[in-house]
């Protein structure tokens, strides 16, 4: 067994893993914010039913409180959190074929993988952001309102910076999980590090390639966690 060859193959696979990881974060971090906005939408088109009526019935008020956008996003989040990521990746991969009869090619694997990861992670990030934003005291909003800040200004200038600081620990958790989740690329037979490690292990009937891959994951996660720690420290100039 050629260890140099194994290492080289895994290192190549690792670059792909890194690419999946980076692209997923780049898209899912902001998309999580959009999902959060949808989730927290207060748009209730039936609100008028309850507003003018002095003593509206229970059913009328239930209808009035119906928030369609928020409901859709809640469902979206609960499905994405409630089903295996592996299954979601397969659904995304096969969707164009089953929905539109499009013939799937190998290039699609990569896009399906990224789309699957981004959608799944955006649901988790949305909930993390929600936790961070809801932990900010109402006084911050009131102070901003009295000073005349618009809603958008309040969010960008006052709420978002404080939210970012608060969500670093849970986001770090997700980042670490994502590094390991990239190994699910094997279900689409996409050649990232884990898929390669599995192939090598099978070819040589040897566990070493898998252990080396494990080492790669561990070292990278260690670096990622340290990086997030440093970022957190950088933001510790205020409480």
């Amino acid at each position: 067994m050629d260890y140099g060859f194994i290492f080289q193959k895994l290192a190549e696979g690792f670059l792909t893993t890194l690419l999946i990881f980076a692209l997923t974060l780049v898209f899912s971090l902001p998309m999580g914010l959009l999902v959060y906005f949808g989730r927290s939408s207060k748009w209730a088109p039936m609100a008028f039913l309850c507003k003018r009526d002095r003593s509206p019935g229970k059913i009328k008020c239930a209808v009035a409180e119906f928030k369609p956008i928020s409901s859709i996003f809640r469902l979206f989040i609960s499905i994405l959190r409630g089903t295996p990521l592996m299954l979601q990746l397969l659904v995304v991969f096969y969707a164009p074929f089953y929905l539109f009869g499009i013939k799937l090619n190998t290039a699609w694997r990569f896009f399906a993988l990224i789309i699957g990861f981004v959608i799944n992670y955006s649901a988790y990030f949305a909930e993390i952001y929600r936790g961070g934003i809801e932990s900010i005291s109402v006084g911050q909003y009131e102070a901003a309102q009295v000073l005349g800040y618009s809603k958008a200004q309040t969010f960008v200038k006052i709420i978002l910076p404080q939210m970012i600081k608060r969500v670093i620990p849970p986001v770090t958790n997700e980042v670490i999980t994502l590094v390991k989740d990239t190994s699910l690329g094997f279900v689409l037979a996409y050649l990232e590090m884990f898929t390669i490690a599995k192939q090598l292990a099978a070819k040589y009937s040897n566990i070493i390639p898998l252990l080396v891959a494990g080492l790669f994951y561990f070292v990278f996660n260690y670096i990622a966690a340290r990086g997030m720690e440093l970022f957190e420290k950088k933001l510790s100039y205020y409480q």
Binding site: L147, K157, Y238
Partner: protein, 250 residues
């Protein structure tokens, strides 16, 4: 023309009627203190005046301009409240400074990005105000590095930097120990001497007596008694007011 005019304000939270037909006018340069037991509606009145709560009925006007009035038994607000917000400032009980920003940025950002004033002038004004409050060296500090008294003084500066016509204080010293309370009251007193128009909700009776042109005693959502401080404190008319003030005698 009154700086603030609130007429027949009504406000309920569910079945709880917090303000029952309250009317209040504040003239230019006047310092009004509102005293009364907890739950009497003092803070709610300020929150209605600053649009943090919406009124159920009544009329609110700043500088003669109506911001809210009553139509068909319910309150209507003007579409755009923004022009009214620059008329007033509010100092909160727990400061509500922005923790991620320096003192200077806390003070200058709203005048620059909301009122679009010249950044240089705003900064000059902020420096002047901070100096007046004895906070010159704290311009680059973050709120968490300041004492409660300093934080409250910064929040007063933040409100003043907007150059409002009237300044509201919602129990500005209730979160502070007696020593820090003193330094904040001193600053408010200084503003009173400069004839800043102010409405102060407070539990500091001797302070209310010393700085106010008018004292209002509220209980159960109504104004029970009001007048010059020497009358309200010295020649109390209403039994309920006497009862309340008795707690402050030694």
């Amino acid at each position: 023309m009154s700086v603030l005019s609130m007429q027949h304000i009504k406000k309920s939270f569910g079945d709880n009627e917090v303000l029952k037909d309250i009317s209040l006018r504040v003239e230019q340069g006047e310092v009004v203190s509102i005293i009364g037991p907890s739950g009497s509606g003092k803070s709610t009145l300020l929150r209605c005046a600053t649009f943090l709560e919406t009124i159920d009925a009544g009329e609110i006007a700043y500088m003669g301009q109506k911001a809210a009035w009553t139509e068909n038994n319910s309150a209507v607000y003007v579409k755009n409240l923004k022009p009214f917000r620059k008329d007033f400032g509010l100092v909160f009980q727990n400061f509500n400074l922005f923790p991620h920003r320096t003192v200077m940025k806390n003070v200058t950002d709203a005048p620059i990005s909301v009122l679009h004033r010249d950044p240089k002038e705003v900064r000059a004004l902020a420096e002047e105000l901070l100096a007046k409050m004895g906070l010159s060296e704290k311009a680059d500090a973050y709120p968490c590095e300041l004492s409660g008294g300093q934080q409250q003084r910064v929040s007063i500066v933040r409100a003043l930097a907007m150059q409002p016509e009237i300044l509201f204080f919602d129990e500005p010293t209730s979160a502070l120990d007696p020593e820090l309370t003193g330094e904040v009251l001193k600053v408010i007193k200084q503003l009173a001497e400069e004839h800043m128009t102010m409405v102060i909700v407070t539990h500091e009776m001797s302070f209310a007596r010393a700085v106010s042109d008018r004292v209002i005693f509220m209980d159960g959502g109504v104004i029970v008694e009001q007048g010059r401080p020497e009358d309200v404190f010295g020649d109390t008319q209403e039994e309920r007011t006497k009862q309340f003030l008795r707690h402050y005698e030694r």
